[in-house]
């Protein structure tokens, strides 16, 4: 391939740019609830985000990456012209990144996931052909965009109801909070590690059976719980503060719990959204390396690393400011409901990551918040936001597609050396 090095360089650059954008903008949505409910300070949130976004992306980002890399486009259509796929993936990356930049600078509600899927489908339909898209897979993904917020809403509803039954609506909420919250902390550690382990950590040389995974997950749940219990012991309870609002001290314990769900949220976000940046990169790299559209090749670890580093870079250079802004605007959320929303959303996203389905973390979180609201747990929810999400669907998919088509023909015009098509 004549321009192989060019392709690799561009892919890495665009992928890094996209990952940077995710870190700069998208991470804020995952972290802001924790900052808003004052479970984390802004500095702690950045630290948590950096560590767990990285871990999520690196450890559990492989499945969704593989979907974006080879699950959407039927590569047999371009066997004779693998370069077309390279142009397409480069164009999709650039399109999604540019669209995100435009949209978020205007404050429009957009989803990175929707942008990249729209962009990939866009170039594939116009540049290769309608039959080159795995429409069944696209249908699954689109359905999951509807299902994931609903599922996480249900989860949040039931989590909050359980908290109400076990802790808040009892005669001694403080005692029950001390008693039951460690189990929720266990759940956070258990679910996250289980899904990650089940989907395999082969790329870091860890290959466990289901039974072993289960045991390790229980172990990591217990360790998480132990850390949580130690943290709860360190809280200073001041009965004076309960005069004005009787749940001030109970909320402090939920604050500890929310530190854990915040970690989970960052992990989940990293595991699902890193693929939006590195999925196309992975596709390009495997074509360049083998010269053909390989469907079986393993995902190179350095690509995952690229995405993870990009996200943390975005967070460090710009994302922390967005977290601060968004967090400041969320004042109505106390840790007891923030945690319910985060645990529900993180679980849903991690399951999607394990299944290899790219979903929108933010939409899932919005669904979870609505779930808590339906359980009568939140003072006021602005339903216009739900309408805006619908709008973001209608606008983002075609916008990503159109930009991607433009970039595709631009790149093809510059680099294409193959036969006329």
């Amino acid at each position: 391939m004549e321009f192989a090095l060019w392709y690799l360089g561009l892919a890495a650059a665009f992928g890094l740019f996209m990952a940077w954008g995710i870190g700069a903008n998208d991470v804020a949505n995952a972290m802001a609830t924790s900052v808003g409910s004052k479970a984390l300070t802004i500095k702690q949130a950045i630290l948590v985000a950096a560590v767990f976004e990285f871990a999520g992306a690196f450890l559990a980002g492989g499945q969704v990456t593989s979907t974006i890399r080879k699950g959407i486009i039927d590569a047999s259509q371009v066997e004779n012209n693998p370069e077309l796929l390279i142009f397409g993936m480069l164009a999709a990356l650039l399109a999604a990144a540019v669209w995100l930049l435009i949209a978020s600078s205007r404050g429009w509600p957009v989803s990175t996931t929707h942008s990249i899927i729209g962009a990939i489908v866009g170039f594939a339909v116009v540049g290769i052909g309608v039959e080159s898209v795995h429409w069944a897979k696209i249908a699954t993904i689109a359905a999951s965009w509807v299902v994931s917020p609903i599922l996480s809403g249900f989860l949040a509803f039931f989590i909050f109801m359980s908290v109400q039954k076990l802790i808040l609506s009892t005669d001694d909420p403080l005692k029950n909070a001390r008693k039951y919250i460690p189990f929720y902390i266990f759940a956070v550690g258990f679910i996250l590690s289980l899904v990650t382990l089940l989907k395999g950590l082969k790329h870091i040389g860890l290959d466990l059976t289901t039974g072993q995974s289960l045991m390790v997950a229980v172990g990591s749940g217990i360790i998480t719980m132990a850390i949580g219990i130690a943290a709860i012991k360190r809280i200073k309870f001041t009965p004076d503060e309960d005069v004005d609002f009787r749940f001030t001290n109970v909320e402090k314990i939920f604050g500890i719990l929310m530190v854990f769900t915040a970690c989970g949220m960052a992990f989940a976000h990293g595991s699902n959204d890193v693929a939006n940046a590195i999925g196309p990169v992975a596709a390009i790299v495997s074509i360049v390396k083998t010269g053909v559209v390989a469907q079986k090749s393993e995902l190179a670890t350095w690509i995952l690393l690229l995405g993870a580093v990009g996200i943390v870079l975005g967070l460090a250079t710009y994302g922390w400011r967005v977290i601060r802004t968004v967090g400041r605007n969320i004042t109505e959320l106390t840790p007891s409901r923030g945690f319910a929303a985060e645990l529900a959303a993180a679980s849903t996203v991690v399951i999607a990551s394990g299944t290899g389905i790219p979903i929108s973390t933010t939409h899932t979180l919005v669904g979870a918040v609505l779930g808590v609201g339906i359980a009568r747990g939140i003072g006021a929810i602005n339903l216009r936001v739900v309408r805006n999400i619908m709008l973001s669907w209608v606008v983002t998919l075609p916008a990503g597609a159109i930009l991607s088509i433009l970039f595709f023909f631009l790149l093809k015009g510059i680099f294409y050396t193959g036969p006329e098509i």
């Binding site: 903008n25 978020s104 609002f245 968004v326 109505e332 933010t362 918040v369 006021a380 602005n382």
Partner: protein, 225 residues
């Protein structure tokens, strides 16, 4: 560049403004106590000062009411019915209005109370003030209600507070009966127009507790949903 629409999902809850409004209403009603003191002592200067305070606070409450009404778009999804919020608000506002009317009537007609009725009337004013304070305590529980997702324990707690409110209101009813009876005995000695207005003042004063109780009933409706 904010880049996030997540923060937009949290609308501003009407709970705090509702509580602030009631706080203002309670301080307006509590001004009736020094006001009545001044009336009974015949201290016109002090009476007029407290009357002005009552008018000012009633106005402030009115402004708060209008502000809250404006920030309750129907696109808000709340654990309490929007209509219930507005009705509690209206009822709270009527409590302050009641205090203003009583003070206005007494000041406007430069009224005096027969010596024998003074202490009983003062007791009625104080009990009405208790009723408002109790309604405010119940309204302050809205935070805890939402915190617990309207859990059973908390609903029962508020139910208990409202029960106390009912009892206070019943006290004021009985006090009114006694006052009317006293006034009836004095009717022949007093100017008929004064008698008429004294009945009206007893009525209006008792009406304050009545309205406070209705704030409670509206709150009860919110819980029942």
């Amino acid at each position: 560049m904010t880049g996030s629409y997540l923060s937009g999902i949290f609308g501003s809850s009407p709970v705090r403004p509702l509580q602030e409004h009631m706080e203002k209403v309670v301080s307006c009603v509590s001004e009736l106590i020094p006001f009545t003191d001044a009336v009974l002592a015949g201290d016109e200067q002090s009476r007029s000062r407290h009357h002005q305070n009552i008018i000012a606070m009633e106005k402030e409450a009115d402004t708060l009411k209008k502000e809250l009404r404006l920030q309750l778009p129907s696109s808000l999804f709340m654990p309490i019915d929007r209509r219930d919020v507005l009705e509690v608000l209206t009822m709270q506002d009527l409590v302050a209005g009641g205090a203003r009317d009583v003070a206005g009537l007494i000041s406007g007609r430069n009224m005096r109370f027969p010596e024998s009725m003074s202490s009983n009337y003062m007791a009625l004013v104080q009990r009405c003030n208790d009723a408002c304070a109790q309604a405010y305590i119940a309204i302050k529980e809205l935070d805890e209600l939402i915190e617990t997702g309207f859990g059973k324990t908390e609903r029962e707690r508020v139910g208990g507070l409202l029960h106390e409110l009912d009892e206070i209101e019943q006290d004021t009813d009985e006090q009114q009966v006694v006052l009317r009876h006293e006034l009836f005995k004095l009717e022949d000695e007093l100017h008929p127009v004064n008698v008429m207005f004294l009945y009206k003042i007893i009525d209006n004063t008792g009406g304050i507790a009545d309205r406070a109780q209705r704030v409670g009933s509206r709150l009860q409706l919110m819980l029942a949903r």
